[in-house]
C-alpha cells in the first residue's frame, strides 16, 4: 500500500509541486520587474550578462585565497551531485522510463562510486564549514540545514539502495527524493535556477558600465 503510494501518486504530486513551485518563484522574481536604465551605456548589457553567468564559475583571487576550503568542497559536491543525478545508471533508466522516454550515456559502476565519494566528501565538508565558521553560522537559518540534511539523506539512501536488491531501500530513497522535491521551491535550493538570474542582472548592469564582472 505505502509502496504503491510512494511509487505512484506521491511521485507525481511531488513532481508537480516542484515544477509549479519553481515556475511560481521565477514568475515572482520577474514580476517585481527592473526599471529601464536611462544612462547612456558604455557597453552592451547582453554581453555583460552572458559574461557574468559564466565568469562567476571562476573565483576571484580573494576567494581563491581565503575561501579555498569552500571552493574545493563546493565544486566537489556540485560536480559529484550532477554526475550522480544525471549519469547514474538507475537514474538514467528512471528518467527514460518515467519522463523522457529515451535514455543516455550512463557512468560505469566505478565512476558512480567515485562520484558518490566526491559528492559526500564535499557535502559533509560544506556542512561542517557552515557549522564551524562564525560567519556562516551567523548567516545560516534552519532552511540551510534542512536543505543540507535532506540532500545528504537523499544521497545516502540512494547509495544504500545501490544494488537495488532491497525494494524497501529503493522506496526510502524515492520517498526522500519526493520530500526534497516538495521542499525545493520553498527554500534556498532555488539558487540552482536563480543563480543565472542573479549573475545575469549583475552582469548586465556591470556590462553597461563597461566593467568586467
Amino acid at each position: 500500500m505505502i509502496a504503491q503510494l510512494i511509487d505512484g501518486p506521491l511521485w507525481y504530486f511531488s513532481l508537480t509541486v516542484f515544477v509549479l513551485g519553481v515556475l511560481w518563484r521565477l514568475f515572482m522574481i520577474l514580476r517585481a520587474g527592473v526599471k529601464k536604465d536611462l544612462a547612456v551605456p558604455r557597453d552592451g548589457s547582453g554581453a555583460g550578462a552572458l559574461r557574468a553567468i559564466f565568469s562567476r564559475f571562476v573565483p576571484e583571487r580573494t576567494v581563491r585565497r581565503h575561501g579555498k576550503v569552500q571552493l574545493i568542497a563546493g565544486y566537489m559536491f556540485h560536480l559529484g551531485l550532477f554526475a550522480l543525478l544525471f549519469l547514474a545508471r538507475p537514474h538514467v533508466d528512471f528518467f527514460a522510463e518515467r519522463m523522457t522516454g529515451f535514455g543516455w550515456w550512463s557512468m560505469p559502476y566505478w565512476a558512480f562510486i567515485v562520484a558518490a565519494e566526491i559528492a559526500f566528501a564535499g557535502l559533509i565538508m560544506l556542512w561542517l564549514y557552515r557549522l564551524l565558521n562564525p560567519v556562516t553560522r551567523l548567516l545560516s537559518s534552519a532552511d540551510d540545514y534542512v536543505g543540507t540534511v535532506l540532500v545528504f539523506l537523499v544521497m545516502l539512501s540512494g547509495c544504500l539502495a545501490l544494488a537495488q536488491s532491497v525494494e524497501a531501500l529503493r522506496l526510502t530513497h524515492l520517498l526522500l527524493v519526493e520530500m526534497l522535491l516538495i521542499y525545493f521551491p520553498f527554500s534556498s535550493l532555488m539558487h540552482a535556477f536563480t543563480f543565472a538570474f542573479s549573475r545575469g542582472y549583475t552582469g548586465a548592469t556591470m556590462g553597461r558600465k563597461g566593467i568586467r564582472a
Binding site: V69, I113, A116, E117, Y129, L132, C159, L160, L162, A168
Partner: protein
C-alpha cells in the same frame, strides 16, 4: 607463480596460527584419536578436490583444479584456511571484541563515578585562546563523522546477527544489514581521505617532545593531583594521534584490500585483511571511547576548543601550560566577549608550535 602463491598462503596460515593459537586443531586431533576409524567413502574425493591437504608428493599430481572460470584461485574448490578464519570470527572476534568494547564503556563510566569530571582548577576565566582554526576543526569533525558512521555500520555487520536479528526480525534486519554494508563500503574511502588530511594538518604538533614522558609518568594530571605541564598536545593526545594514523592506517589499508578485489588478492589475503581490519577496528573503537569521554563529560572546557575554536585560558593553563604561557607571551589572549581577532594573514594557532 603458482608455487609462490601457495607458499604465500602457507605463510599466512602460519601467521593465523601464531595470531590466534587456534584450539581448532586440538579438536581435530581429538577426533582422529577415536579408537575405531571408519574410513569415509567420500574421503578420497575430498582429498582429490582439496589438494593442499595431500602430502606434497601427491599434491604435485593435483596442482590445482581446472575451471572454466578465469580468476584468482578459481581452481581452488575448498579453502582450508576458511575454517580457521570462520572460527576466529565467530568464536574469538565476536565474544572478545564484544566484551572489550562493553568493558571500555563500563570502565569509562566507572572512572567517571570514581574520579568525577576533571574541573578547571581556578574555574573558568574571562579570557580565551584560539586553539583550532576552522579548517582544523573541520578535519576533526569530518574524521569524527566518518569514523562514527563506519564504526556503527561496522558494528551492525559484526554484531547485528547476534544482537539485532533476534530483536528486529529477519525482514528488517536484512534491510539494515544490506544498507550497513553498502554504507560501510561507501564511506570507507572517505576515512582514508580524512586520515590523510588529519595527518598533514596535525603531524608537526604531534611529534614527541621533551617532557612528554614526564607527563605520562605523572598520569597526565588526571589521575594525580599535580599540575603536569605540556605543549599544544600532551603525550596522551599525541599517542592518540599516532594510534589513529597507524592503527587507523591499518584499518584503511586492509579495508581497501577487502573493498577492491581487483589486485589479484586471493582468499588468504582477504581473510588476513579481515582479521587485521577487525582487530584494529576494535582497538581503535576502544581508544576512541576514551577520547570521546575525556572530550565531553570527562573534562570541563575540553570540547570548546573543537567547537568554537577557542579554549578557556585557565583550561589551557591546567592542561597545556607551556603552550598557554607561550600564547600569553605572544599576546594571543582575547577577552571572551570579543569575536575572533583579526584573522587575515594570521597563521593558524598551530603554526606557532615549533
Amino acid at each position: 607463480m603458482l608455487i609462490n602463491h601457495r607458499r604465500g598462503l602457507s605463510f599466512f596460515a602460519v601467521l593465523f596460527v601464531l595470531l590466534i593459537v587456534s584450539p581448532a586443531f586440538a579438536e581435530d586431533a581429538a577426533s582422529s584419536n577415536k579408537p575405531v576409524t571408519v574410513p569415509n567413502p567420500a574421503s578420497d574425493l575430498w582429498r582429490a578436490v582439496n589438494p593442499q591437504q595431500l602430502p606434497p608428493a601427491v599434491a604435485a599430481m593435483f596442482p590445482r583444479g581446472d575451471s572454466q572460470v578465469q580468476g584468482v584461485q578459481s581452481g581452488v574448490l575448498i579453502n582450508q584456511q576458511g575454517q580457521i578464519w570462520r572460527y576466529f570470527r565467530m568464536k574469538q572476534l565476536l565474544p572478545i571484541g564484544g566484551y572489550l568494547l562493553a568493558g571500555a564503556m563500563l570502565a569509562v563510566l566507572l572512572f567517571y563515578f570514581i574520579r568525577g569530571k576533571v574541573l578547571i582548577r581556578d574555574g573558568e576565566s574571562d579570557k580565551k585562546i584560539e586553539r583550532y582554526s576552522v579548517y582544523e576543526r573541520m578535519i576533526h569533525w569530518f574524521m569524527a563523522f566518518i569514523f562514527l558512521f563506519l564504526g556503527f555500520s561496522g558494528l551492525i555487520l559484526l554484531f547485528g546477527r547476534s544482537l539485532l536479528l533476534p530483536w528486529m526480525g529477519p525482514e528488517l534486519f536484512s534491510i539494515l544489514a544490506s544498507a550497513a554494508k553498502e554504507g560501510h563500503n561507501l564511506f570507507g574511502p572517505l576515512f582514508l581521505l580524512a586520515l590523510v588530511l588529519m595527518f598533514l594538518k596535525f603531524v608537526v604538533r604531534n611529534i614527541y617532545q621533551k617532557g612528554d614522558l614526564t607527563w605520562l609518568l605523572k598520569g597526565g594530571g588526571i589521575i594525580g593531583e599535580h599540575d603536569v605541564p605540556s605543549n599544544f598536545f600532551n603525550m596522551g593526545e599525541k599517542t592518540l594521534f599516532w594510534l589513529l594514523i597507524l592503527v587507523g592506517g591499518l584499518i584503511a589499508i586492509s579495508g581497501v584490500v577487502l573493498l577492491f578485489p581487483v589486485f589479484e588478492q586471493g582468499r588468504g589475503i582477504m581473510e588476513l585483511s579481515h582479521v587485521v581490519h577487525a582487530i584494529a577496528a576494535v582497538i581503535m573503537l576502544t581508544v576512541i571511547i576514551g577520547h570521546i569521554y575525556i572530550g565531553t563529560i570527562g573534562m570541563q572546557g575540553a570540547i570548546e576548543g573543537m567547537t568554537s575554536g577557542y579554549c578557556d585560558l585557565n583550561w589551557a593553563k591546567d592542561h597545556h601550560s607551556w603552550w598557554a604561557q607561550r600564547c600569553i607571551d605572544e599576546g594571543k589572549i582575547v577577552p571572551k566577549q570579543q569575536g575572533s581577532a583579526v584573522h587575515h594573514d594570521n597563521p593558524g594557532p598551530g603554526e606557532v608550535e615549533k
